[in-house]
Structure formats: C-alpha cells, structure tokens
Amino acid sequence: MTQAKSTAAFEEVLRVEGLSVEIGISTGLLRAVSGIDLHVGRGETLCIVGESGCGKTMTSLGIIGLLPRRARLTAERLVLEGRDLLALSPKQRAALRGDRMAMIFQDPMTSLNPVYTIGNQMEEIFLRHGKGDRKAARARAEYLLHKVGISAAASRLGQYPHQLSGGLRQRAMIAMTLMCDPTLIIADEPTTALDVTIQAQILHLLHDLQREYRMALILITHDLGIVARMATRVVVMYAGQVVETGTAAEVFAAPMHPYTRGLLDCIPIPGKTARGAQLGSIPGMVPALLGPIASCQFRNRCPQAFADCAAAPVPLRETAPGRTSRCLLTPASLVPQRAESLGAAE
C-alpha cells in the first residue's frame, strides 16, 4: 500500500460532523450513534472498524439516508460534494442515491431481487437517474460487468441472481453501484458473506476500481486484516462513538485507545506470534446504549481504567492533525503493548 498522504491531499467528497442516530425502543431511546465526525476524499479509502452493534452500519445508513422508520438522525453537518444533505427533501435525497453516492451490501444473494435479471436491475438505476436511454443503459451495464471481471458479460445480463455464484454476484453488485459513476461508495462488509478465497479477489477489485475511477470509498468492516490491506485512514468505533482515528500506518504502529490495542492483541500474526502463546481477549460486554453518556463507555473492559474514567464523558482528543483518541491516558502512560502486535501496514 502506498504511504498515506495527509487528508488535505485528497479532494474532499464527504464531510460529516456531529452525526447521531437515535432509535426509539420500548425501554427508552437507544443511542446507536453519538456525535460522529468523519470525512473522506477522492481516491481515499476510509475504513470504519468496530464490533457488531458499534454503530458502523447505522452511520452508513444515516449518511445515505436509509435509516429504518423508528430511527432519528441528527447532525451538525452532512455535506456531499459541497451539497448540504440536511437541507434536502427526501425526494432530493433519493435523487442523489445511486447517482452521486452508492452502497454495496453484505449478502449479494439476498440483496438482489430474485425475479428480475441482473441486466434489468443494473439498467434501472441508469434510467431512473436519467443518464440515457435503454440502449445506453445496456451498453454501460455490459461494459461494467466486463470491467469487474465477469466474462461473457452480454449473456450474464439476461441471467437471474440465483444463476450466478456468490463471488460473481458481488462483482455484479459492485458493477451496479458504478452505473452512474458515483463519487462516494459505501461498502458495508462486502466480503463477509463470501468464501475466503473470493474475499481477496473482491478486495483487489475494489482497490483497482478505486485507483481508476478515484471515487471515495468508505469500507465498513470488523476484520482488521481487511483494514490493513485497504485503508488509507481508519476510524475505530465503539458503543456508537468514535474512539480513535488516524492513518492506517499510525493506528497500527502505535494504537492509542485501549480498545484498539485490545483488538490488535487478539490477532495472531503468522511468523510473529509464538506457538502456544496466549491470544489477548477483551473481557466483558458492550454497555447498554440507553441514557445519556456520563463516562467512558469502555472503562468496564479497560485494563487501565482509573477513577476519572467514570467521572465524566471523555472528549475526543487530537494529538496530531487527523490523529484522535477518546481516552484520558496520554500516549506516555499507555502500558507497552505485546511484542507480537501488528506492525505498520506496508
């Protein structure tokens, strides 16, 4: 991977500030996402990492405007290519979806409508956003299928989703998102439902496409291996909050938040981890996301928690441009990490 440039070098596509998602449930208001900031530029891959339930999917749905009915979005800023998304009506938002920003979902089998052909489902985006007529749509669909590595593209257009293998389906979905040449693509765990061998291919494909089309890519995952391969920058989320950000190199070489460090400790590194050595684990559970935040959300699982952690909510501190951590501990007071932790992604 190339050495990460500073974010200023990328032309900014998306800027999000103070995004929160609340869901009304029987026992109260669930704060799925609390005050997220993020931004991503052309040609840049931002990885959002975290465990299930940390809010990464809700964040992406909030950005693209597909939150479930009971969820409420609030944000200070939500700007795509200079357009203020918060000021748009739902109809205007819908006009941007699929056109300027697109989303790839986790399971390609269930994400495609089984009763329509691949071609039909690809062409309809093109037509819906008025990019051309039927013929132009068909031509572009065929071109993109070919581009994503599907042979016999013309005949594939007439096939149904169940007739393609898992890897091909995901490729087709990727091709589908490119129909209108969006500037932002959000991929929510795009390889989780696929075989391991196919995973690498798909990631490779995304990487190549990005290099060619220079769209901004937000990649949501729980797999640090994928982050190491793909990320320009990383945002680590926990319990609905951002707990650490930085370039991939920075975060892997010197993680600052105990949660990030805990995650890295859990991974065995071939060649580095000694046989028989104990893998790390993070004891405890994610706290319930109800009620206002009154303290550090990680303190009950943190090996270095102390009294102040329970006293008040912890602010996100910036130690260097683009490098933040939501922890009261200074880098100096952090306990040395295990020797086998992942080195800088190179």
């Binding site: 405890g284 706290p287 319930a288 303190r299 009950n300 090996p303 270095q304 928690a305 102390f306 009294a307 329970a310 306990v335």
Partner: protein, 309 residues
C-alpha cells in the same frame, strides 16, 4: 491484562458494573406477562371459558327444558322488544321453546363437535405430517398424495353425502368433520418436522441410537406443539361453522336437538317478522368462532412472537 497484573500495578479497582445485567426472567414468567396483557388472548379466553361454563352448567342455569314445547307460548319476542318479558329473555321459537335455554344447550353441541372434530383431525393430520416429514422420500410422497386427494374433494358436498348415509347424530357429525379437515395439520406439521429433523439435536439422538418413535415424540413433537395448537383452534372454528351450515341445510344435526345452525334454519320461516330467531343463534356462532380464533392467535403470540410481524 489479568486481574493479578492489575493489582500488581496498583491500578484502582473499577467502579462496579452498572445494573444492566438483571437476571433474565424465566420463559414461563415472560409468557404469563404477555398472556395477561394480550387483548386478543384475554377476550378469546374469557368467552371460551364462559361458553364452556354455560354449556356444562346449562341445566342449573335455566328452569326450562330445551325440548319442551308449549304452543301457547309460541313466538314471544325477546325482552327488549315491545311484547317481550323477562320470563323469556330471548323469547321463544315457533314451537314455544325458550330460546335462551336452547341457546345454552346448543353450546354443548357446538363445543363438543368443535373439540371432537378438531381433535380427530389433529390426530390424523399431525400423525401424517410427522411421518411424512420425518421419513421423507416415498413415505412423504404418499402423504402428500393423500393431502392432494383430500384437498381436491369438495369438503361440504362430501360431508353432506356422508351424513345422508350415516345419519345426523353428534357422533357421526363429529367423525365426518374430523375425517374431512386434517389437511392443514399435515401441511404445517410436515414442514416443521422437516425443519426440526435436520437440526443437530435430532441427529445427536439418532446417533445415540434412540428409537425413531422416541425421537419423533420426544424431540420433534414438542417443537410442533405450538403450531398444532394454533391450527387446532382454527379448525375448531371451521368445524363449528361447517356443522352449523350442515344443520342449517337439514343434513347435519337432526331436530329437535338445539344445534345453533338448526335454530337459524328453523327461524328462517319466521325471519321477516321475528328476525331475532335468526339473528341470535347466528351471533352466538359468530362470537364463539371469533373467540376461538383470537385465542389461537393469542396463544401463538404468547408462546412464539418472533414469527409475528
């Protein structure tokens, strides 16, 4: 870091975990709570209970005999009409019999036939479904063939023919209906059995060498039980409706037994001037069937609400 290391480094103990982890309530407690707040279930259960009590204690609740005819007391309107009186709250029918009394005794007929037919149908259908779903292959093909034959036959016409042949007693009607409405049981039981069969705990039982019968009864049947109850309530309602229809047509329960359907039929002659003769038994049927259906739905919601939207 282990707690030992934490102590060694002198790090202060963490504040106690917030009380989010209360002890999870037992399934029975959950069900009870749901049952007491589910309006459909409460409505259904209340009506059913009331109907059963009325049916059982009918002789004690009324001074009249449902079969006693008094032609001098014919066609007295119910208490809310002009010529009505409290002596006959629901009036009398064309033969001078007290209508409320006949209604109460009619509840016995409806409940007996309903329970009976649903039980017979449930037994036949569940057995077939378990067998077909568990053994699969040719056995299953036979079961599905039987179901298809049953579905193709027009149930009401068959019932009419059979009752013409065998006569219209409570027993014969119950048997006929029981043998005609088992198809839904088969379909549901079979599908659940198929799903359960491939579950790991069944494979485990088979590996241990448990006899097939034991597996079917011990592992599969409990899973199916919830669905069977719902279907049973549905079919009970159907049985009551069909019996009423058959009796109405004259090929069901024979007079003078006070089947509600028969009462509607008898009241038809006087329908234009004394509509209550037709209205009252019909409402009784309607309310009872609604109650049974809501009870079944309620039980399903209470025991397994995940399937509900």
């Amino acid at each position: 870091m282990t707690s030992i290391e934490r102590d060694r480094r002198g790090i202060v103990a963490l504040s106690p975990a917030p009380p989010y982890e209360r002890e999870a309530p037992s399934p029975r407690m959950i069900m009870r709570r749901r049952a007491l707040t589910h309006p459909g279930f409460l409505f259904g259960a209340t009506i059913m209970l009331a109907t059963i009590l009325i049916a059982v204690f009918a002789p004690l609740l009324t001074p009249y005999d449902p079969y006693f005819q008094d032609l001098s007391q014919r066609l007295i309107p119910p208490v809310w009409a002009i010529k009505g009186s409290w002596a006959h709250i629901f009036g009398t029918d064309g033969m001078g019999r007290d209508y409320l009394t006949r209604l109460m005794f009619g509840a016995r007929i409806s409940l007996t036939i309903g329970f009976g037919a649903a039980s017979i149908a449930g037994f036949i259908g569940t057995s077939l479904g378990l067998i077909g779903g568990y053994f699969g292959g040719k056995v299953d093909a036979v079961v599905m063939y039987l179901v298809n034959v049953k579905l193709a036959l027009p149930g009401v016409l068959i019932a009419l023919s059979l009752i013409e042949v065998f006569g219209g007693s409570v027993t014969s009607v119950t048997l006929v209906l029981g043998f005609l409405f088992w198809d839904r049981f088969v379909v549901v039981t079979r599908s659940v059995t198929q799903q359960t069969r491939i579950a790991d705990y069944v494979t485990a039982a088979e590996a241990v060498g448990a006899s097939r019968l034991r597996i079917i009864l011990g592992e599969v049947l409990p899973n199916v039980a919830n669905h069977i109850i719902v279907i049973a309530s549905l079919e009970m309602g159907v049985a009551i409706l069909v019996e009423a229809a058959l009796s109405f047509l004259g090929l069901g329960i024979r007079p003078p037994t006070p089947s509600w359907g028969l009462m509607v039929s008898e009241g038809r002659n006087f329908m234009f001037f004394q509509p209550y003769l037709v209205a009252v038994p019909g409402i009784a049927i309607f309310v009872l069937v609604i109650a049974i259906n809501m009870l079944g739905d309620g039980i399903r919601d209470i025991t397994a609400p995940e399937g509900r939207n």
